[in-house]
Symmetry: C2
């Protein structure tokens, strides 16, 4: 058996700055999706953290978020050292976020291998997930390649980017990153067996990530390196961060890098992009109803009740999504969940900041 | 023109002791139907009082209720003299209630003509209502007959008693009181033109009411007369009232009395017996929706939203009754409104006194 090039410490960087309006009224500006327990008993952020249990030491887990979300992040992750919450001065897409994580994590865990995760995704099988992470970590450490996870598509999604893979096996060469496709193209991707959803989950060594950024996206790294060199004063970060181009890591780096591999995920994944998606992963009763909170259901089928402290009594209804919050109530046909965005826009137009 | 036999003062007695569970979650033990603004902007009790405006002096309006409802009754009717709220020691059906009103009102307004009204009914045309009241008052005062209002049936209701009338014109002879009929009989009543719903609204002089009670239902009156004779101590009323048979005025008196007339109502009436009935009398928007409170509706038809302080957002739904209360939420198909009773029973069985 071969010996690793070098002993690497596994580091997880959880991106937790997301906003999102598709879970209104449960999600609000100050209460984004990662804080919600819309799937399972705990918040998606907490589940993301717990999923790492036993494989990543808490002091090697870092969460990047904005200052307004830091307190709730800390409250949900009491085991996390306070200094492991990395504050973005503002949301500027994933490339600045990950470069900021890089310059802070490499000081604390030099020689680490970094797994990039999202705080608001759902994964069914934590053990398969950790095994796949290990596959990616080993590959990244041995080869120096950037590794991306690929999710095998289950339907022709047009809202995700795709990864085209070459070869077979647990780690494959990336042939190309493909932009969000139109439906006809998505259908060929679904059929090909070579295309995977890009879920924005990556594994790379800190050293290789730095080297690749320096080569392909120096503008992303330079302002943050300068900030660190000048002492890393938190008060100066805002100005430095503002100089980093606002761009996704896929565009800034992944599509340009040549040393990229994909690990096809064996775990079941969802970005939990809408209320119906949140329903999909919960156990329904015999009539197909999903209930959070207290509900009294008579002759009610295929509904989801995301309740709060109030009792919800339903009779003679079907195919509804009901979300009961302190100051707002959503009642939506399952097939109309995309209209939640419209509702939020209307509230914005009406100046109902109190409900956003 | 003939001169009246005697100058009569018009007195209204509003029965406001009702409970009822059909408007759960809006109605509760301590918040019965008469306190709810489920039709119109004000409570049904307040609307009943306001309807008398200009025809009955506030000091000649009496409200009979139970002690637990007295404070809210007073709050809703600030113009009403406090002593005009007559307290029933307990709910014992309408005969004891009206006998109690009699013995108290006849001391305050001797020689009055008493209109018996319900606090939780809805009437569309207040001016027609007052004209019909005047017709009944005049008839009662001139003839000494007991007058009952008859509502012309609009569908074969099987939940009401009926009045069979003889003759034509604004005041008719009562041929018979008919019990709640089975559907086939209700259909013949609907077709006959001679049958009216008994809405429990009466007009009679205090003297004639006393005389008729003494003749046909002496047991109803005797304990209360004895109580008055012994000084009318409020502390003694409970014991006296407990001796009055628990019976409806229709059974105790109206079905036995021979000197009874019916005034066919020209006004539109409803006992507002269910959520769909409450919808019937409100103005709907172009899509057939009725809204109380704040609502944001997208592609939503033929729904009723009885909201509270919360915003209700609905999308892609139809034929729903939504009732949003502080601690409970009802979502019910319009055709399943009778299941509200079942819901209340289930809550009772589960010991949820907090929601009853």
């Amino acid at each position: 058996m071969a010996t690793p090039r070098i002993e690497h410490t596994k580091v997880a960087v959880i991106m937790a700055g997301g906003r999102g309006t598709r879970f209104w009224p449960r999600s609000r500006t100050s209460r984004p999706k990662q804080f919600l327990n819309i799937v399972g008993q705990e918040s998606l952020l907490r589940q993301t953290f717990t999923r790492l249990d036993g494989a990543f030491a808490p002091e090697h887990v870092f969460v990047v978020t904005t200052s307004d979300l830091a307190a709730e992040t800390a409250r949900l992750l009491p085991e996390l050292p306070a200094e492991n919450i990395l504050i973005e001065p503002e949301g500027r897409n994933t490339a600045p976020c990950l470069a900021l994580a890089l310059v802070q994590v490499e000081r604390k865990v030099p020689g680490g291998v970094m797994a990039v995760l999202s705080a608001d995704h759902w994964i069914a099988e934590p053990s398969l997930f950790l095994e796949d992470i290990d596959t990616a970590v080993k590959h990244a450490a041995w080869t120096g390649e950037l590794v991306v996870f690929g999710i095998r598509p289950t339907y022709p999604e047009t809202g995700f980017g795709y990864i085209e893979a070459d070869g077979q096996g647990p780690v494959r060469k990336v042939a190309a990153f493909r932009e969000k496709p139109p439906m006809d193209v998505a259908l060929t991707y679904l059929a090909s067996g070579r295309h995977f959803w890009n879920a924005g989950m990556f594994v790379w060594t800190l050293a290789d990530f730095r080297a690749q950024l320096q080569q392909h996206a120096p503008a992303v790294l330079a302002p943050l390196d300068a900030w660190v060199e000048s002492g890393g004063d938190p008060a100066q970060l805002k100005s430095a961060y503002g100089q980093v181009p606002e761009v996704a890591i896929d565009v800034a780096l992944m599509e340009k890098a040549t040393e990229v591999a994909v690990v096809p995920a064996r775990f079941t994944w969802s970005d939990v992009g809408s209320w119906p998606a949140a329903m999909e992963f919960q156990e329904a009763d015999a009539e197909g109803n999903i209930t959070q909170g207290q509900a009294l259901l008579l002759d009610t089928r295929n509904c989801a009740f995301f309740g709060g402290r109030r009792l919800i009594a339903a009779s003679g209804v079907q195919d509804l999504i009901v979300v009961d919050d302190e100051d707002a109530l959503l009642i939506c046909h399952r097939d109309k969940a995309q209209s939640v965005k419209k509702i939020v826009e209307r509230l914005k137009a009406e100046g109902r900041e109190d409900l956003l």
